[in-house]
């Protein structure tokens, strides 16, 4: 199957793939700063350099760690907790 072959090709060249992703990310931030018209921005912070990149990354980190913190306050528990699994 070609799809499997494509995935395995990408896995074999993972190092290059990761480098390519970093380049894309950099281009995205720089491109947003240099070329994107901010006319549609609704608030002042949105005009800052790389605002949405930082927002996305921080949002991800906050969601992961706040959720895990919450989960470890007794919310996450054993699978047979209710005794019916």
């Amino acid at each position: 199957m070609k799809l499997v072959a494509l995935i395995e090709f990408l896995q074999r060249h993972l190092k290059w793939l990761v480098r390519l992703c970093w380049v894309v990310l950099a281009l995205l931030v720089v491109g947003d700063w240099l070329w994107v018209d901010k006319e549609h921005a609704h608030t002042q912070p949105e005009h800052w350099f790389g605002f949405w990149s930082v927002f996305g990354f921080v949002a991800c980190v906050v969601i992961i760690f706040v959720s895990k913190w919450y989960g470890h306050r007794g919310i996450m528990t054993r699978e047979d907790y209710y005794g019916d699994k």
């Binding site: 199957m1 799809l3 499997v4 995935i7 992703c21 894309v24 990310l25 995205l28 931030v29 491109g31 947003d32 070329w35 994107v36 018209d37 901010k38 006319e39 549609h40 921005a41 609704h42 608030t43 949105e46 790389g50 949405w52 990149s53 930082v54 927002f55 996305g56 990354f57 949002a59 991800c60 980190v61 906050v62 969601i63 992961i64 760690f65 706040v66 959720s67 895990k68 919450y70 989960g71 007794g74 919310i75 996450m76 528990t77 054993r78 699978e79 907790y81 209710y82 019916d84 699994k85």
Partner: protein, 595 residues
């Protein structure tokens, strides 16, 4: 009852189909499984705008067919999803499962075209009572229990809704289902709202959703994920547009679902939590209440039904083929189920609102409406939740099922392969629609209730979205270790009624039983002893005193009688002589004393 016109309700087609389906076998059933939903879809397409199906019942004018732009967009997507879900379930041998699924869709259509609250309530309950069979059909003990909880919660919601409807009728004298006075809500309005938001899974009335949907059958969850919550969104759009509390509730939903998705180990339960998150956007849109926001809520419901259906199809096909849905029992399946991976990825990219996928053109309308209404905090929090959506549904689900550590047992790995052709076809069609909506915006925008002035494909919006999503991916791969699934469950507010039920059971079995035993013992020790003692005294009194008196009297009577009998035994001459002697003696005594 008086019927003013004959009007074919699209729900009737599905209800008749549901009755006929179990009678059909083999190819005829397969043809019917596709043809009946297609007929219902065509009926929706050719409905004339206006009010139809009016029935005079007692003092009320019931309206079964209110056809306008708002009802049409929901009627369209519901019947379309019914076609896709039915194709997905073509391989299912149990016709009862497909029949109840159609009854469930018919309930949804009934609500959508209802012009009054009584008809709405009728179909609202049809949805609850038919959909529960999609959970019970899985036949696991945990599914049976989850179905009962699902039904109890929905019966509670239905009762509150009916109470609200009755109060509304008493206050206004009208049953018409339309916009309520959300600026000055009275008790009736609040009760109707509670009935609606329970079905929309708004916290804290949401826990039935992940509890039940993760326990449903593979095809059942594909239907379940589409209809209940989005029908509730339709009802909210119709009656509660502009109710401010819904903005807060919507944002809470969007974030709540994301938080629980981090903790979840079961892929289908994770998706169920993400329904709450995504419906949060729609509820917030209803709360904003502007034309753009209502358009956004409708558009997002439309897109959501398709991509969430697709995601449940993808993870459902994994469950179907491997028997597993937990991340801790899956992994590395790309070699075995590549097509299921590809279609699930399309669903993941759509829900994450990637450019060129459906969520991008719908979700952003709501967020943009939030910014335009200067609800900046709400809009930013919705953006934060969208990062969480990509984190889990776009990355966590595909990664931990098809890549990551291979946790499959030998049996799971052996069983794993792409699902049957009908499931692949349904996924391919749904994935195609997700991409089509994302690429060709007029298709969806023309169906919306209000004219659309919104253009999602601006350079700023594309750049903004790509930055959020791709940097979320950076966070995912950097912090993949804390995201590793663990074999746990997460407690939610269903804890209160699950453990509350047990508390009642414990109370009945322990303290109430103990009190009952103690009272029994007390009665036995004190009551019975006293009773026995008093009985003995009574017996003694009865035996000695009462019987003594009675027996004594009887003995006296008997003695007198005996003597009399003995007297009577002598000869009559002797007796007469004795009597004469006594009389002569008495006479002599009298004469001697009177002289």
């Amino acid at each position: 009852m008086a019927i003013s016109e004959l009007w074919l309700h699209p729900a009737v087609i599905l209800l008749v189909g549901a009755v006929l389906l179990p009678l059909l076998r083999g190819r005829a059933r397969s043809v019917a499984l596709v043809a009946i939903p297609v007929l219902a879809f065509l009926r929706v397409l050719y409905l004339d705008p206006g009010t139809h199906g009016c029935v005079r019942f007692l003092d009320w004018d019931l309206v079964f067919g209110r056809v306008d732009k708002l009802s049409q967009v929901f009627g369209y997507i519901m019947t379309l999803m019914c076609i896709l879900g039915s194709i997905y379930s073509l391989h299912v041998k149990n016709a009862a499962e497909q029949a109840v699924a159609w009854c469930y869709v018919a309930g949804s259509l009934g609500v959508i075209y209802a012009g009054d609250y009584l008809v709405l309530f009728l179909f609202w309950e049809l949805m609850a009572f038919s959909s529960v069979f999609l959970i019970w059909q899985r036949r696991r003990p945990s599914s049976i229990a989850a179905g009962i909880r699902y039904l109890l919660v929905h019966v509670f919601g239905g009762v509150v809704l009916l109470g609200g409807i009755m109060l509304h009728l008493k206050a206004t004298g009208s049953l018409a289902f339309g916009q309520l006075d959300v600026a000055h809500p009275d008790m009736a309005t609040w009760m109707i709202l509670i009935g609606f938001i329970l079905n929309a899974a708004v916290p804290p009335l949401h826990a039935w959703l992940p509890d039940a949907y993760s326990e449903a059958t593979v095809t059942g969850s594909v239907f379940l994920c589409a209809f209940t919550t989005k029908t509730a969104v339709y009802a909210l759009c119709r009656a509660f547009a502009g109710m401010e509390v819904l903005i807060v509730l919507g944002v809470v939903m969007a974030i709540y679902g994301v938080v629980y998705a981090v903790l979840e180990n079961d892929s289908r339960k994770l998706l169920a939590y993400h329904i709450i998150s995504q419906v949060g956007y729609m509820v917030a849109g209803v709360g904003l209440g502007t034309q753009m926001a209502i358009n956004g809520a409708c558009a997002h419901a439309f897109a959501h039904i398709l991509y969430k259906g697709l995601l449940f199809m993808g993870t459902g096909s994994v469950l179907q083929m491997t028997g597993q849905s937990k991340f801790t029992e899956l992994g590395g399946l790309y070699k075995k189920m590549p097509w299921a991976f590809l279609f699930t990825l399309v669903g993941g990219l759509s829900i994450s609102a990637f450019p060129l996928f459906s969520g991008f053109v719908s979700k952003s309308m709501i967020v943009a409406a939030g910014f335009e209404e200067h609800r900046t905090t709400a809009a930013f929090l919705l953006m934060l939740a969208s990062a969480g959506t990509f984190l889990h549904t776009g990355l966590k689900v595909p990664y931990f099922i098809w890549f990551g550590k291979n946790n499959c047992s030998a049996e799971t790995w052996q069983r794993a392969e792409d699902p049957p052709w009908n499931m692949r076809l349904a996924m391919a069609l749904t994935a195609g629609l997700c991409i089509w909506i994302g690429c060709y915006t007029p298709y969806l925008y023309q169906l919306l209730p209000y004219a659309v002035e919104y253009h999602p494909y601006t350079a700023y919006h594309v750049s903004e979205t790509l930055q959020i999503l791709l940097f979320t991916a950076v966070g995912f791969f950097l912090f993949i270790k804390p995201l590793q699934p663990t074999a746990t469950i997460s407690l939610d507010v269903d804890w209160f009624y699950r453990m509350g039920g047990r508390a009642v059971q414990w109370f009945v079995n322990k303290p109430a039983q103990a009190v009952d035993t103690w009272v029994g013992e007390l009665y036995r020790v004190c009551g019975l002893t006293w009773l026995m003692a008093s009985a003995r005294v009574s017996a003694w009194f009865d035996g000695r005193v009462i019987d003594g008196v009675v027996d004594g009297f009887a003995r006296s009577v008997r003695g007198a009688g005996d003597r009399l009998r003995h007297l009577q035994t002598r000869q009559i001459q002797v007796n007469t002589f004795s009597a004469v002697v006594v009389l002569v003696v008495l006479l002599l005594v009298y004469l001697l004393t009177s002289m």
